[in-house]
Symmetry: C2
Subunit: 113 residues, 2 copies
């Protein structure tokens, strides 16, 4: 099953984190996504480019709707022609399989632009 | 005239930058806005808090519409319960009076939330 089609399970403080080996395997399915630590918490990060501000905003809005629908919320950094997205799991202070699923869904939304 | 009601003039590379003294005077009208350098360019920055992700997104969308309407574009950092806004002038690599006008308009939009 494509990563983007996996169900996001509820994240609770005792949800298992993704191991380094699992993360490396999942990243192979996610071109240009990188794991970057922020305040000692790993984030899954990718920058997307657009031809103007309006398209960057439209993408931001779609990812915001996706986040609300799955109750899993990223950080969205929107500026002229560029949106940077961070996925991470607040409850577990690290990366969960859900973050990789949301990254795959983000790429699927971007493909429409 | 309230700062928020001033017209934003077009920013061109030869538009005058705001002096340090002018910036200090303008900041007195803009509670909690700070001047923060990023890559040697001064940005006008403020964080706004919200009760959830949906309100943070709604605010982001309104500021995005304001930016398009005035053709002056900020960086918007949206996450659960928080939006951080950066105004600065790309063409002049520094702060222009327009940035302070847009900051005042941002506060006016926030007052509705």
């Amino acid at each position: 099953m494509p990563l983007a089609d996996e169900k996001c399970s509820a994240c609770t403080p005792d949800s298992p984190l993704v191991s380094d080996q699992q993360a490396a395997e999942l990243l192979r399915q996610l071109p240009d996504w990188q794991i970057v630590p922020f305040d000692n918490i790993n984030h899954l990060v990718k920058a997307f480019t657009f031809k103007n501000f309006a398209d960057a905003m439209a993408f931001t809005i779609e990812i915001g709707e996706l986040a609300e629908a799955t109750n899993h919320h990223p950080t969205l950094i929107t500026t002229w022609g560029k949106v940077t997205i961070h996925w991470w799991t607040h409850a577990t202070s690290g990366l969960h399989r859900n973050d990789f699923v949301m990254a795959a869904r983000t790429d699927r939304v971007f493909a429409k632009f």
